[in-house]
């Protein structure tokens, strides 16, 4: 029986999903070896089991789902969307085997939270987690920040014509080099350079604040991984508050801000083009919104006399706001302190910061500074049009790796993505209200999952309804992939069962 073209397309998508999974399975060897070195043999067996299971699934798909065709744009997009879902299901295995989760759904929630660099967690008894499992948690968030497809492209997936589709499908559209594979490799090179610098800085800081050298290194590595990838996971349940250190907070602040910048900006600065840092529409937009929202948050906090002095206001108020704006999710306060102490105005500033997020083509989530900047420029352009004669031609320029002219296409693209973010944000907020949470708390948590932030007001716990967990998983996935791959995957699956061919 001849298969229809649609099913042949599925074969291509599953083949590349298998390839990505096969490469991804080798990540399990890092926590497996870490566990062996730490003398944790039970977790080591779990990670070897997970490695074997993921490799078996991946290699089976790669070996048996094939027809020799090269992937096109649509295949790349659908593969990106589906790979993230399959990766979520298989990566939850070590979590589930650890016994620190109440259900497999909770384990999948944490995987999606890690991969999308959100940072919300449903783990039980985090303070007694093995070194291997902590390595896995932070590795997932580090890899997720750069992108699992970017990893596969950098390592061994040739991709062919669909290579750019894979790349764009993962929420990145900036080419550092003409070749997508070279771009993927460059992203990993940049990340590894910062990994060494950041880990060393936090290692030294860890020893200075009283951690033993071994613990300081592991905590430094893990915190850095979550920091750079704007992930927000931490090895202890108190998050960054555990360290009670202004030095540690200052270092994490520097790296999460740097991590929220566009990889193309990093490449430009590393090549010596430092002017891009101050001219780029994204850094200008980030600086402006950070200043405005900081003032708003501080106004609210000072009005309610939440913090006794300026130092406390910076270490608590500004740190939380910057963590929200860069979509990191590191916290130096308890989730319930947001609800009980911060007041509506400061919470509004944090919610807005979470939705705006960091830069495009970075590890950060949210609308992205580029889109906010483009929409702001479009408003300026339209205002000028209103004020000038109807015959006047108003040209609006913006700087984004060179001076560009603002066109309808960019404005439409930015507005559509922002609109879709708002739709899924409203959807998650409504789900939170339906689950019985107060409006402000439901909105706060919805902004956190949609923007892949990870700050919590106390809603996200293992006891929330399964439906709400599924909504949050969907929002984290859709927000991270910036909708294109999600829409492509949905369209692809629909086309398999519908009459319309791709």
């Amino acid at each position: 029986m001849r298969s229809s073209p649609r099913w042949r397309d599925l074969g291509i998508v599953l083949h590349y999903t298998g390839k990505i999974l096969a490469g991804y399975s080798f990540l399990c060897l890092i926590p497996a070896l870490t566990s062996l070195l730490a003398g944790e043999y039970a977790p080591a067996a779990d990670f070897f089991l997970s490695f074997g299971a993921i490799l078996t699934v991946g290699a089976s798909l790669a070996a048996f789902c094939r027809n020799g065709s090269r992937p096109g744009w649509m295949h790349g997009m659908a593969t990106a969307g589906i790979s993230w879902l399959v990766a979520m299901v298989v990566s939850a295995l070590p979590y589930w085997l650890s016994g620190h989760y109440l259900s497999y759904l909770d384990a999948m929630f944490d995987v999606m939270s890690g991969l999308t660099t959100t940072g919300l967690t449903l783990i039980q008894d985090l303070d007694h987690v093995s070194i291997g499992l902590n390595m896995w948690r932070h590795l997932l968030t580090f890899v997720g920040g750069q992108g699992i497809i970017v990893l596969a492209l950098a390592l061994f997936v040739e991709g062919g014509g669909g290579g750019y589709g894979f790349y764009v499908g993962e929420g990145k559209d900036e080419r550092l080099f003409p070749s997508v594979m070279h771009t993927a490799k460059a992203i990993w090179k940049i990340s590894f350079i910062y990994l060494m610098v950041g880990t060393a800085a936090l290692w030294l800081a860890g020893m200075a604040i009283g951690l033993s050298p071994g613990r300081a290194f592991l905590h430094g590595l893990w915190i850095y991984m979550a920091d750079w990838s704007t992930g927000g996971f931490a090895p202890m349940s108190q998050n960054v508050l555990y360290y009670h250190s202004a030095l540690y907070e200052a270092i994490t602040f520097v790296f999460f801000v740097v991590g929220s910048f566009n990889f193309a900006l990093h490449a430009a600065v590393l090549k010596g083009n430092r002017k891009e840092l101050i001219k780029n529409i994204e850094t200008v937009s980030f600086g402006a919104t950070l200043c405005i929202l900081t003032m708003l948050a501080c106004w609210g906090l000072v009005k309610l006399q939440v913090y006794p002095d300026l130092v406390s206001l910076i270490r608590k108020g500004f740190y939380q706001l910057a963590s929200a704006h860069t979509t990191t999710g590191f916290m130096t306060i308890y989730p319930r302190q947001f609800a009980a102490e911060w007041g509506d105005l400061a919470l509004l500033a944090v919610i807005m910061a979470m939705l705006i997020g960091g830069s495009a083509c970075s590890t950060a989530g949210g609308f992205k500074g580029l889109r906010v900047g483009i929409l702001a420029k479009a408003i300026i352009q339209d205002t000028k049009r209103l004020l000038r004669p109807s015959s006047a031609v108003v040209v609006q320029k913006y700087h984004y790796h060179g001076l560009r002219t603002l066109g309808e296409r960019q404005v439409r693209g930015a507005a559509l993505v922002v609109l879709m973010y708002i739709v899924i944000f409203a959807f998650a907020a409504a789900a939170g209200c339906l689950a019985g949470f107060p409006f402000l708390e439901a909105v706060f948590e919805a902004a956190s999952v949609t923007g892949n932030v990870g700050l919590s007001i106390g809603v996200t716990t293992a006891s929330i309804p399964a439906g709400l967990k599924l909504v949050y998983i969907f929002n984290m996935w859709a927000g991270r992939l910036e909708f294109m791959a999600v829409l492509a995957s949905a369209g692809f699956v629909a086309s398999l069962f519908g009459k319309r061919k791709l």
């Binding site: 074997g52 490799l55 290699a59 008894d125 303070d127 070194i131 604040i209 406390s312 608590k316």
Partner: protein, 178 residues
Amino acid sequence: MKKDTSLRSLILILLALAMALVPTAADAGTDFFAAVQAVHLSDIVEKASAYDGARVAIEGEIIGDVMARGDHSWINILDSGTAVGVWAEKDRLPEIAYLGNYGAVGDRVYITGIMHRACPEHGGDLDIHAETIELVKNGMPISHPLDLTRLGAAIAFSLSGILLAILWRKRERREKIS
């Protein structure tokens, strides 16, 4: 005469006690004679404003690390899923045998101290400045035995995965040549 001497002795003892207690109370920056409230850590976090500046008594497991900072140390105490930082003079810390982590249940301690919702000394941290720390119960190591079924499954899956990967790569190479 004897009665006068006893009265004088009593007054002297009371004065000495008061002199010893006043500086401690001043250090704590609070009413020393305020009652100690035994509370759960989750309540301290949930109702931080209500306990701000109060003398509290908590009990929990020491987790993670003892982070020395000069003549003080930070320890973090875990009780029913909530952990809170405790700032303590090094001399007041008891001999700690186990810190809570994957390999051990940490020592259980009873702490009295002043709770701060936003500590001005520590950059707004929610913390407790310890006045007394007593060891309640020694911790113990936790064993995590290797599950042989899982080990067997790990070997089986790893072998099947590697064999399938070899098969896939061979097929791919053959297709490239043809």
